[in-house]
Amino acid sequence: MLQAKDLAVGYGAETVARALTFDVQAGEILAVIGHNGSGKSTLVKTILGIESPQAGALTWTGGTPPQPIGYLGQLTDFDRRFPMRVCDLVETGGWSKLGFFDAAGAGARLRAGEAIARVGLNDIATLPLHKLSAGQLQRALFARTMVQDAQVIILDEPFAAVDQNTEADLMDHVLGWVAEGRSVIMVLHNLSTVLHHCARTLLLGRGTGRFGPSRAVLNAGALVEMGYLAADQARWLTGSLDGVTGGGVTGGGVTGGGGADA
């Protein structure tokens, strides 16, 4: 679906991460993890076309980026005081398919209604945004993403502000999208979610990235080398596993970055 080769991302003259080589197939989840400032959000913005690649290539199957790209971002710039009801917000997911002169119509309202029902917000569909809890808002935004009906969906820390039950519910929807053959790129912090659900991982850090099967990328050595864990944390973690597991995870199939590969 999407292929990146020697990609460098950043803002203006400043490069945040370089030499990124990875790909996402239809029907899989790519996890993106990394320490703060490692370039996760910059990479997301580059894939969305908001920022341009500084070097390398980003190639889409079919030549051009799919329209629309499903997107659920961090809520830093989201205005929760905007006069809008849940159902209005969900409906905006279909707007990018409308031309200047098209009316939204009954079909759009119907699709929004279905999505609201699927995320379990039927009871509060007409509530204004400022009355929602963080979990309810995140459910509403998942419903908007459903209305977008995109083949490629990018989720930037989708579980940052929600409780465990909500996370489990919402993760089911993500798995549903993947089962339908859509590609999902998900920025995450929770390693257990990555190991459970994401076949492959792009680990960003130290100005570059490593890519491969999640269980190969997420070994203690790589996490330390990429600045995700401190060395003593990793030693403590792996030490605490002695006698629990039958040996370390081997690092086969990892590509990219770092220079000092084991």
Binding site: G49, G73, F82, P83, M84, D88, T92, P128, H130
Partner: protein, 278 residues
Amino acid sequence: MLEFLEFDFMRKAIVAVVVLSLGMAPVGCFLVLRRLSLAGEAMSHAAIPGIAVAYSIAGLSVLSMTLGGLIAGLSVALLSTVLARVTLLREDANMATLYLLALAGGIFLLSVRGTAVNLESFLFGNILGLRASTLILIGATTTVTLLVMALILRPLILQTVDPVFARSQSKHTWLISAVFMVLVVLNLIAGFRALGTLMAVGLMIVPATAARYWVDAVTPMLGLAFCFGAGSGLLGLALSYWLSNVPSGPSIVLVCGAVFVVSLLFGRNGLNVLARRA
């Protein structure tokens, strides 16, 4: 009591204020929602030197004064956006500085010319002495505003509520912002003759703010802001007729202010004093 309706100048003023509200309501609502209320104020002052320069070149021509004001107002808006990108200081600091300079420069220019323009009617408006050309300007501005707002309404909403999502869906979000700013300045200039450079922004911001206290969706907010604006305009005009020394600009904005206070007290998003007591 309603004998003032028989005067030609009064009928012109009524048409002017109702038509002006029609365009200013949607523009004002989005100014408020985009947290640009004070930027609107700044832009209205920033337009003054442009109008002054146009006046000293071409005299009292509505077209050249509009063009002059548009260029000056948009330059200040553009310059403060650019400065905020390339320097450390935020947009509001640059904008405040620039508009103060522009305001001072405008008044300076007008005074040096020492002229036929009465400074008081320039600042506070003279809605009771509107000429046909000004009415045409107001009508044209409102027509353009309503058409353009209808076209850009969806992207404008998306960009206001969730700017990063909007940018992920369209490459043209900067264009929408730019078009919106042009509408803001156009409406301010259309309001200048009627309400004055100090008061024009009042008919834009105050009804929109008052409307937000009552409703939680965009479309009703736009409609309510128009009703508040036009209603305050009519009542304000009548007031300035009955109390013959009061200029129309402040009197209209004061009535808007009364609507604001009532909305603040009783609106469901305001202090809501009735519901709290119950």
